[in-house]
């Protein structure tokens, strides 16, 4: 079990409001995408969830227990921060050993094997690792932790395409073998989209949207075709993105496509396609209006 309830959490840094009345629930065994533009409050929320920083107000419960200063609750979470919290002189293999002490379910053999697949040398010290290998180290550590909740904050930072692909495949295999709660905080939405079951989009410290990906994608669709007909169709609808090339135009509409809409599309000879998560994200986070 790893049910996380975040209720009315707020946090300010001086005059900057990082989070404002954030409430969201995460249930067991799902892959969540925590999305937001830079400064949206993603890392602050994760830091509060894992006791790195304290909220000014609100509360977080993990399986019904308060998350603040609670070893048992925190022991269910492994958080791969963007910043490394281990001393630079520490060797990778020493961190593996150390983590096994704190997380009894840590799979040392798997960590070694995975490190080998990523060509990460366990005898290396942190200070010697490149940005990419630092990311590899952290994702190996998190995957091997076998924690009920695995949090990845920008897991593929500095990774080449092959290593990114390997990570996504490994995460999926691990999840299928033993489903747990995974939170992926990333800017590379298109790459991670196929893995995500639910998305939580933060904007300016508030939850803009928290829904299953399928539902989110159903909320919008793309219509393309001749400019004149597209504009005719889109009149009065909530258009969140427009692209035009010559007489061709494509618009993303943020509302459900009804039967009447589909009939109109057919009559106007327009193409209908699902919106992509990244496209929707960009549109929503650029849109000043909050989506309910």
């Amino acid at each position: 079990m790893s049910d996380i309830q975040i209720r009315h959490v707020s946090k300010s840094y001086g005059k900057t409001r990082a989070l404002s009345d954030v409430s969201v629930a995460l249930s067991d065994a799902k892959v969540y995408g925590l999305l937001g533009r830079n400064g949206a409050g993603k890392t602050t929320l994760l830091n509060i969830l894992t006791n790195r920083v304290f909220a000014d107000g609100g509360e977080i419960r993990i399986d019904g227990e308060p998350a603040v200063e609670n070893d048992r609750a925190q022991g269910k979470i492994f958080y791969m921060t963007e910043q490394t919290l281990y001393p630079k002189r520490m060797r990778v293999r020493d961190v593996f050993d150390l983590t096994r002490g704190f997380y009894p379910a840590f799979d040392l053999d798997y960590a070694r094997a995975l490190a080998g697949r990523f060509q990460l040398r366990p005898e290396k010290r942190f200070g010697e690792l490149s940005t990419g290998y630092l990311s590899i180290f952290k994702l190996v550590l998190t995957l091997a932790s076998n924690a009920a909740v695995m949090i990845f904050d920008e897991p593929v930072l500095g990774l080449d395409a092959n290593h990114r692909d390997l990570f996504y495949r490994e995460l999926l295999a691990r999840y299928q073998a033993a489903p747990n709660t995974v939170i992926l905080s990333t800017h590379l939405i298109e790459e991670a989209a196929a893995l995500l079951e639910e998305v939580i989009i933060l904007k300016e410290g508030q939850v803009l949207l928290a829904k299953p990906v399928d539902e989110v994608l159903e909320l919008a669709y793309v219509v393309s075709g001749s400019q004149e007909n597209v504009e005719r169709y889109a009149a009065g609808k909530r258009v969140i993105r427009e692209e035009a090339l010559g007489r061709y135009k494509a618009v993303t509409i943020y509302q459900r496509c009804t039967g009447a809409d589909q009939a109109l599309l057919a009559r106007l000879g327009l193409d209908l396609s699902p919106a992509r998560l990244q496209e929707l994200f960009v549109s929503l986070t650029n849109d000043p209006q909050k989506v309910q």
């Binding site: 304290f54 070893d71 919290l85």
Partner: protein, 244 residues
């Protein structure tokens, strides 16, 4: 509570620190020996018993243990979901064990040195303690002093970590300010200096008793360490992760 793995991690780093401290203590003994030999040759030597600073070197390393390791240990604890309360709880036995190790090693070094040259530590000189007859008194007072120094180091590390820049400067410049205040005071009759000296000598069992009493100092230093640990917790309990 995950006290044991936290304690294991802290102790492992302290063990490395101890090795360096032993080297520094041996170096301090060699230095004193060289001075001893040179004064002997020049006819300036007035004593046959050497005073070795190994206990003071150990004291410095005890301070450094708290100062240098507390913050990195705190970060590793946070990385592994350890609460601040558990972290500090693990730090107390780790400090006690390190202090005991430092005490034992200082004692052994002096004993070994005494095989070649009669020698005592500064603590023994202050409290007039014999290496063999008063070993328990030496142990407890040094142990308490090292625990106090480790906790002082931890508290200072927390000040560096958490305080605003002006407060940080104020904390570290306070001893310098005190020094100059005492100089000025000495020129004006030395009343503050005398008062502080009286307080210090009394709480360390060097005044107001028929003979220097190391157990009074042990009590004072232990209470001081407990007070510092409490202060560290007061600061630590709401300390967020701070990264450069």
């Amino acid at each position: 509570m995950k006290i044991l793995p936290t304690l294991r991690y802290i102790s492992r780093n302290y063990a490395r620190h101890t090795v360096i401290a032993v080297f520094a203590s041996v170096a301090s003994m060699v230095l004193v020996d060289l001075v001893f030999i040179s004064t002997d040759h020049s006819g300036l030597r007035h004593t046959t018993v050497q005073t070795l600073p190994v206990d003071w070197v150990a004291g410095m390393f005890a301070l450094l243990a708290g100062l240098l390791y507390f913050t990195p240990h705190f970060h590793v604890a946070l990385a592994n979901g350890i609460s601040r309360r558990t972290f500090l709880t693990a730090n107390v036995p780790a400090a006690a064990a390190l202090a005991a190790l430092f005490t034992l090693l200082s004692y052994i070094l002096v004993l070994l040195h005494s095989l070649f040259w009669p020698s005592v530590m500064i603590t023994q000189l202050i409290y007039a303690l014999s290496t063999r007859a008063d070993w328990f008194a030496i142990f407890v007072v040094q142990w308490a002093a090292y625990v106090f120094m480790i906790m002082l180091g931890c508290f200072s590390a927390m000040v560096v970590y958490q305080a605003t820049t002006p407060l940080r400067w104020a904390y570290f410049l306070a001893p310098v300010a005190l020094y100059f205040t005492l100089i000025a005071d000495a020129n004006a009759g030395g009343r503050i200096f005398d008062f502080l000296k009286d307080v210090l000598l009394t709480v360390l069992g060097l005044r107001g008793v028929p003979a220097p009493n190391p157990y009074i100092a042990t009590l004072t230093l232990t209470l001081g360490a407990a007070l510092l640990a409490g202060l560290v917790y007061l600061v630590l309990r709401r300390t967020p992760l701070v990264l450069d």
